[in-house]
């Protein structure tokens, strides 16, 4: 018995110690969990910006950017036709609270109707909740496909002496803090029901009188199932019936009175809402050029992925291949800009220079294989040997053109 008590105490201490293991920094949350071809073909991300990286509890931060459901959306996801989407944030738990979300300028609190090939300019305002250093990504969840994650950033939240609050005003004008609203009603009511339940159980099971379970087993075995022997046998007595009536009565009174009180105290309630929206189309982008990928060659010896593309300049001024975006990565032409952040890298474009108006040119984009392998974006050994992404072309005035390209992947050796 002493040994048992010691073991129980050790287990309890262990459990208590584990409750102190609160996380303050988490970085991995499935960024590369999905197969490479899925991340390449499904969604494109660009211009993702985090307005701040250091916050105090209750400060707001805005994540903005653009995401596109690519024309190359895989046929084996959402039957090749995504229709319901949800723009969200991937973070390690509810470290932030989402207080505003706009898609193409429209407030979108819940899911939205989406379609393949559509572009969504978004902004999400997050209110800092939990102190710590958190890795945060924008993400788009697509029904019957899963959540596809965009580029992320570490955000530091410092604690505030006043703690966190999530203020909201009800339609009746009353201000509430959603963080703790209704908690005591839930805890209090649950606790009272537990008292009633324990009262019922202890009455029957605590040894004493004739309530010993071992003895009852012998008697119950000799009685038909729908009989208790009555007061003569005494395993269920009139006193038992009376006592159970008291507890049942107390339960009925508690639930009935609680129901009436809550119905009047929280009057004017409405059912849960399902308000899905269809965001308007974004402003039409300038059509500067068209791009068509013709081949993608991965050479393990040089560890380089080369994407051969035919670009036709349809504008009136020269254009430059400025970036290639795939999955949540961006590869920049050094002529157009230098990488910054965890998800931007350099690429080589040959021939270098611009493509003149009306000219069609074969352009080869070379991407370092190490980055792709680290992000598990090279779909080697996967179900589709395909490379896809968004090729960005820019003219001298800074107008930008985003073309979705895709082509088969051909490694030079296995």
């Amino acid at each position: 018995m002493r040994r048992f008590i010691l073991m129980a105490l050790t287990a309890l201490l262990g459990a208590a110690a584990m409750t102190g293991l609160r996380t303050t920094s988490v970085s991995a949350h499935g960024e590369i969990a999905q197969e490479g071809f899925v991340r390449m073909e499904a969604v494109g991300w660009w211009d993702v910006r985090f307005s701040r990286s250091d916050l105090t509890q209750n400060d707001n931060m805005v994540i903005s950017g653009t995401t596109k459901l690519l024309e190359t959306w895989p046929s084996n996801m959402s039957n090749g036709n995504p229709e319901i989407c949800y723009l969200t944030v991937v973070e390690p738990g509810a470290r932030f609270v989402l207080v505003d979300r706009k898609i193409n300028g429209m407030e979108s609190p819940q899911s939205f109707f989406c379609s393949k090939g559509s572009v969504y300019n978004f902004s999400m305002t997050l209110r800092a909740r939990d102190p710590g250093n958190w890795h945060v990504h924008p993400a788009i969840a697509v029904k019957e496909s899963g959540t596809l994650i965009g580029p992320g950033q570490y955000i530091n939240i410092s604690s505030s002496p006043s703690g966190f609050s999530f203020p909201v005003t009800l339609l009746n004008g009353k201000g509430i803090d959603v963080e703790g609203y209704g908690t005591w009603l839930v805890l209090g009511f649950s606790a009272v029901t537990l008292v009633l339940g324990m009262w019922w159980l202890l009455y029957w099971t605590v040894p004493g009188g004739i309530k010993r379970t071992v003895c009852r087993l012998r008697v119950a075995n000799e009685l038909p199932l729908n009989q208790d022997g009555g007061p003569a046998v005494g395993i269920i007595t009139r006193r038992d019936h009376r006592h159970m009536a008291y507890i049942t009565g107390a339960t009925v009174v508690l639930v009935g009175a609680g129901f009436v009180w809550a119905s009047s105290h929280y009057s004017g309630n409405i059912p849960l809402q399902v308000q899905w929206v269809k965001p308007p189309a974004p402003p039409v982008q300038a059509q500067l050029a068209t791009a068509q990928a013709t081949n993608a060659i991965y050479d393990p010896a040089s560890d380089t992925l080369k994407i051969e593309t035919t670009v036709t300049n349809t504008a009136k001024s020269p254009v430059t291949v400025s970036a290639f975006r795939t999955g949540n990565l961006t590869f920049l032409n050094p002529v157009a800009g230098l990488p910054h952040g965890d998800y931007e890298y350099q690429m080589k474009v040959s021939p270098e220079g611009t493509i003149e108006p009306g000219q069609t040119e074969k352009v080869t984009v070379s991407i370092p294989g190490g980055v792709l392998r680290q992000q598990e974006l090279l779909p080697l050994g996967q179900a589709q040997y395909v490379v896809a992404g968004v090729l960005e072309l820019t003219d001298a005035e800074g107008n930008r053109n985003f073309d979705t390209i895709n082509t088969s992947l051909n490694p030079t050796s296995t």
């Binding site: 409750t19 969840a141 909201v168 537990l194 339940g197």
Partner: protein, 257 residues
């Protein structure tokens, strides 16, 4: 003569019931009820999570249609089995309450440790429903009727209504309307939007789905009636588990020796 025979039989049974065992009683009782608590709580929790997990997990899933239809069915199965086992063995009308109390501890330990202390989800978003009032009322039906058929019919209705009324009290504050992101939403909807569940997008919610839009908009009461009907079915699933998978194999085993 017949009365005397019955009285003698009752007297014999009464003596059996009142027999005192010096050492085995209390320890056996304590060991049994505490050990069984883990098993019953786990069984009830698994059944609950398998069939009605999300509906009972988040306030923004606790709707007036599916929560009330699915959850009573999912959660009557183990109480029904325990009602049979405890009534059959000891004539205890405690199976439903015992399961409800075990489930109470299981769910609340999970919510507090995993959801509140480990990842700091607000407890008012992930609170667990209570089945204890429904359990007491259902056990009372068995005590008074001593019939599993009547308990399946009346008790299922009592279980469903007891579950709805007792949990509606706690859910009501979260059905208050508010203006959020330019839309009229409930506080529960605001919780679901605000406290981000990265891998549980909003469109996964199975709430207010379907074409149940007639009946003068009183869909909740239709759902409760349907939930009761399902609950009767669930009750007999539980009876099957209690009779055929729990008690019957024990007797089969004992008869061998």
């Amino acid at each position: 003569m017949a009365t005397a025979t019955i009285d003698l039989e009752a007297l014999r049974l009464r003596e059996l019931a009142e027999r005192r065992y010096k050492f085995i009683d209390r320890k056996w009782d304590l060991m049994f009820w505490v050990t069984a608590g883990f098993v019953v709580g786990a069984a009830a929790n698994i059944t609950h999570l398998l069939f009605a997990g999300d509906w009972d997990f988040w306030t923004d899933w606790k709707d007036r249609q599916w929560w009330m239809t699915i959850t009573p069915f999912a959660t009557i199965i183990i109480p029904s089995a325990l009602q049979y086992i405890q009534w059959r063995a000891w004539r205890f009308p405690t199976g439903a309450t015992y399961t409800a109390v075990c489930l109470f501890f299981c769910t609340w330990i999970g919510r507090l440790l995993q959801w509140k202390y480990f990842i700091n989800m607000p407890i008012n978003f992930v609170w667990s429903a209570t089945w204890i009032p429904a359990g007491i009322l259902t056990d009372y039906v068995l005590l008074k009727s001593r019939s599993f058929i009547l308990t399946s019919l009346i008790g299922s209705a009592v279980w469903t209504m007891g579950f709805w009324m007792s949990n509606y009290i706690m859910q009501l504050p979260y059905l208050q309307p508010t203006r959020f992101m330019g839309h009229t939403l409930t506080v529960a909807d605001v919780q679901g939007i605000g406290y981000i569940r990265a891998q549980t997008p909003e469109y996964l919610r199975i709430i207010e789905h379907g074409s149940l839009r007639t009946f003068l908009q009183e869909t909740q009461y239709v759902s409760l009636a349907f939930g009761t009907t399902l609950c009767v079915f669930g009750y007999w699933v539980g009876q099957f588990i209690g009779r055929r998978l729990a008690v019957w194999p024990i007797f089969k085993y004992l008869k061998q020796y």
